[in-house]
Point group: C2
Chain length 216, copies 2
Amino acid sequence: MTPPLHLSLAGQAVDVLREQVLTGEIPPGSRVNEVEVAQKLGISRGPLREAIRHLASEGLLMLVPHRGAFVPDADADDVKALFELRTALECAAAELAASRRTDVDLVRLHEVCEESRRNYRAGQPFPYRLDLAFHQTLIDAARSPHIAGQVRLVQQRVVLLRSALLDDDPPHQHASMDDHDELVQAVADGDASRASTVMRRHLSRVCAQMLTSMNR
Amino acid sequence: MTPPLHLSLAGQAVDVLREQVLTGEIPPGSRVNEVEVAQKLGISRGPLREAIRHLASEGLLMLVPHRGAFVPDADADDVKALFELRTALECAAAELAASRRTDVDLVRLHEVCEESRRNYRAGQPFPYRLDLAFHQTLIDAARSPHIAGQVRLVQQRVVLLRSALLDDDPPHQHASMDDHDELVQAVADGDASRASTVMRRHLSRVCAQMLTSMNR
DNA sequence: GAACTGCCAACTGTCGACAGTTGACAATGC
DNA sequence: GCATTGTCAACTGTCGACAGTTGGCAGTTC
């Protein structure tokens, strides 16, 4: 029998709240009222508080003493700083992936790229889900659990920022797919240095795109 | 009047527990009993639980459902993985520091290096405190708050690993000081690439030293 | 003697209630 | 009209108690 992933109420509350924050159901800038949310989830304040503290440690909530928890609202500087961290982590991951990738990793990477292309050719937008999947697959290929964990947290915060943004424009999507292909090639070649360089350029582009999106 | 840094009991408990874990007062592998620690700190289990969860999010404690919190006990693979993360972060920080450092930063870096040398020449060991201070100063010079935050957490976990280890041997200390000097030079020159390279070599050396320390 | 079963103490997970703080609003004085 | 002060409701911080789970131990069976 499969043990439930989260028996504890706190764990369930984390999942529900995280979803609500990431989808923008709880919009940036708004506050999380403990008693209100607790009875909405049908739990007491204890577990909910633990859930809130947990999400705060992930950067998805901001705690203010005696005031409560807020969904952080980012400005341009935050985005830049966050992408500095993301770049550091994902460039390192790209390097490691280039030197550790297995054939299975390469197959997976190609699959994600292919699916993106198919979507794009069919006139559909490049779903962010596939972008995330690509990066996740690359991270997995790096086989560095600590880096992977940190990247997951950073990705989440990027998703949070995105939730307040409009969708990407097609030229950006095209460039992203090209970057991904180039990354796969570098990883396949085992060229760590090039993988890092391409990743840096890619993320720099993505960051710039997000910054322009913010000014609309 | 200076406002207390942590009014909340949970915040104070975090500080106390962190100290006890990092100094090895609560040794790796041992469990943290909630009721016992709570009454030792003179608080109830609520705030203590929050403190425990917080430290767990920092990687200083490991939570096991229905069993409690344990101080993690690392093996060689953990150390390697942790240093992959540390390398990713500190190399990026070194690059950024090289391009952003001010004259004040350089003075500070020189000061720390000088103090280390003085200590060493006086026949005293290179205190780990100064090593930490050097890296912290370099991180500050990078002016990237998110990277700085993550590095702090990683440093902490390294300290936790060290707490179970013997002291460094003099040859290693000498090499570390040379590395630091070289790093300062690269940062002073604004040579981001070299700063990253030196940092990578430095951390690789430190990691290797820790791994050999573990096998004694 | 070894393996299994049922019980028990210890501990974590959860809850409801009380206490202290904060920000806002109304009342007051200038 | 504006600043100041007093009051209050809402909310977070904290506590003590109860419930559920876990691992270990004694008792039983073969």
